[in-house]
Symmetry: C2
Subunit: 452 residues, 2 copies
């Protein structure tokens, strides 16, 4: 588990490797003392917070580096503790030397995420905000960046907290009734409680549904390209990626393995997966390929079905779409090779006529893919859940609240109803960190970088 929070911790905060500068971060009650003991320059114990000081890091008489030290005083700092950030020359050798000098002064090496854990423990941010810090650092696209930034700025927290407060009020009332035991008084208006629980359930449902969108923002749109052999799937994939990734060949059934690559459309990441051609399996390998295709389709957030508009009859297209269970997910049906029919790019009865060899057609398809995902997946609410842990707590909470409603309908004893309300409160509290366990904290913070 996490080690003593009274320790002063130290870690390299910048990526490893050689750079112009590297930053070492110290936090804890002895942070300023530790750095001051090896610093020749201003007396850092006497300076104001939010100031920078030039000086030398010394080891006895040896000068280890010339550095800038930024000082932050508790509670006005990232962790809420005293912090010193030491900007050194970016040599791994020097950075290691400086960290060792600070350890000799009594600091210990920080665990991953330990600075942010302290920020959480000292009330500088709630748990969902702390988690957003890790997401922010890992963000690789405009969409995942925005999701993390919104969460870090607390949008999620407010909504959940409001729900919890109302529920807590009712839970207290019902518990008060229980104190009166046999007397059969009712402080909590059952009708009002039912109304509130229904309202909360509506919001929780919205949040749960927003996860699909949030997940897509965070991890990208898992996009499966499927179709019969020679429909032009690989050509399309290559055009989309502007590269020769999949091997295009005129021999049917060339593409047996799923190939994944990433495409960015208007800030949203699409993870493209090519699949083996759909057809009657004639051997075991092909049968396996088709099973894999179905596995991919099941995981997908967008299905692109491609057929050769000059060769495949409408009934077979319909048969393929049914086999792929396409109606279940957002999908685009591409009538490929429309140039052979002398039909320009167009959309006819949900079929998207285009040629995968035509650059402009492919550009149009990209815009269509983006709109398709955003229109079909986006929720009405402005708050989006992108974290699997949050989704699980929301679902648990939803289940408990449904049991509450059920209990109210069936006049279940109040103590059982209270248990379910408590469970819902507990689960909502897990999201923001009003309820925490050591395991939960360890799980969250062990995925952080060192130094954050």
């Amino acid at each position: 588990m996490f080690r003593n929070t009274n320790d002063t911790i130290v870690a390299l905060a910048t990526p490893p490797g050689v750079g112009a500068i590297g930053v070492i971060r110290l936090s804890g009650s002895r942070a300023i003392d530790c750095i001051n003991a090896v610093f020749r320059g201003n007396d850092l114990t006497q300076v104001d917070g939010y100031t920078v000081h030039f000086g030398k890091i010394i080891d006895g008489k040896r000068v280890v580096d010339e550095v800038l030290v930024s000082v932050f005083k508790a509670p006005k700092s990232y962790t809420g503790e005293d912090i010193a950030e030491i900007s050194c020359h970016g040599s791994p050798y020097i950075l290691q030397e400086v960290i060792e000098l600070l350890i000799a002064q009594g600091a210990r090496v920080a665990e991953p995420g330990e600075f942010t854990l302290r920020a959480f423990l000292n009330g500088k941010m709630d748990l969902s905000q702390a988690e957003a810090v890790a997401d922010l650092i890992a963000s690789t696209s405009e969409a995942s960046h925005k999701l993390a930034m919104d969460q870090m700025r607390g949008g999620f927290k407010k909504r959940i907290e409001a729900l919890r407060e109302e529920l807590i009020h009712f839970a207290s009332m019902i518990e008060l009734e229980l104190d009166f035991g046999e007397e059969d008084v009712e402080f909590a208006d059952r009708g009002e409680l039912t109304r509130l629980v229904n309202e909360i359930l509506k919001i929780i449902n919205e949040l749960v549904n927003s996860f699909r969108y949030g997940n897509v923002l965070k991890h990208g749109v898992y996009t499966v390209i499927a179709g019969r052999p020679n429909a032009g799937k690989s050509t399309l994939l290559n055009k989309l990626l502007n590269e020769e990734r999949a091997i295009v060949s005129e021999i049917e059934g060339t593409t047996r393995d799923t190939i994944e690559d990433v495409l960015n459309i208007e800030g949203l990441t699409f993870r493209l997966v090519d699949t083996a051609g759909i057809r009657e399996a004639t051997d075991q390998i092909e049968q396996k390929g088709i099973e894999r295709t179905m596995d991919s389709v099941l995981k997908s957030s967008l299905l692109i079905y491609v057929y050769d508009s000059a060769r495949l009859e409408a009934e077979n297209v319909q048969k393929d779409l049914e086999m792929l269970d396409a109606s279940r997910i957002p999908h685009i049906t591409i009538a490929n090779k429309s140039d052979l029919l002398n039909i320009g790019p167009s959309q006819v009865e949900e079929h998207w006529y285009m040629s995968a060899r035509d650059d402009e057609d492919v550009q149009d398809l990209k815009s269509h893919m983006f709109e398709k995902v955003v229109n079909e997946i986006q929720t009405d609410g402005d708050v989006v859940v992108g974290n699997l842990r949050h989704l699980q707590s929301l679902k648990e909470s939803k289940g408990a609240l449904e049991r509450v409603l059920n209990g109210l309908d069936n006049e279940t004893p109040s103590d059982l109803v209270t248990m379910d309300i408590r469970e819902a409160l507990y689960q909502l509290g897990l999201i923001t960190g009003e309820v925490t366990t050591d395991d939960l904290l360890e799980n969250i913070f062990r995925n952080f970088c060192i130094g954050k």
Copy 2:
């Protein structure tokens, strides 16, 4: 060539990759304006230097990151210009976004080393100090770190400058004589000038000689292990490195290729090179191997010759050492397998008796290697030259001063003597940057990291 020094420049100063934080550095007259235009927090144009400010980086209404900005005002900064250092969350996506926002505000991406170039151009450091910054960042051992740190702190500069000033005085005097043309006056005391040039030459020689040591500190001791097949070279190498790098085998002539690895002894780096066994070459491949051994020995700063003390006669040892031209370089002659003779580790007539299989013997050898190098190579002076460019200028300067002495002896016309004094001054000036050319600056700074 280097671009306009009036531009405000921007670059990522920390290593690329994901980390807890990443630092972007801005320098130039518009540095504060550029960051202030995209910063929501304190008005950075109104704050003092050496202060830190928390706030948001915004792109219109979009929050790109929450950051800390350190402000430094000209001339009290690394470059001597206004500087802002922006400490962002360490996502490459975010860092790129922030750099692009600053470029949109009129900053341009810095060339490698351009921050340090500006520090040099603005008189914050001399050229040898600027070069030491790059060496400091690249330092990987205690020795290379100390060399760079000494140079950065200006040890070299003072010595060279003192020499130059005395010479400049004489050069002016002689040039004054030339102005008087036919009148045959002597302002410069030729005896005094001879004395001075001799004194300077003595110091330059010291500096030139120190390069061997400086080079070893900076790049490590190129250490060649040579000996006959089965003398135990590979066993020794493995023991020194504590790893199974070279393949040890009982078949003679196993090791045909040079294998290089690095060993750190008391802060000094040794680059170990194994060689093919020395013996009468029976085929072309072996002949090539022996030629390669000789090539390696020629480059080496330390030669370790190993023989099997139980099997090889003294005269053959002597023959090998002569072939390797060992007397020319610091070398250690190891009488290996001394355990088979029942002789403990000892040094007899310059032969180092030991067993390469014995851990303690190998530890003793390491200390001996360190002492050998430090005793044989170290100079008396406290200033060490570790830079090849400096060595070349010192040698050119030495050549010019020797021509001056020669000229004074042979009563060469004053204008020719002056030319050589000027040449010596020019070469010495190149070291500290009192004389510079665009090519010189470009050569020096293009090897820097971006952001420094």
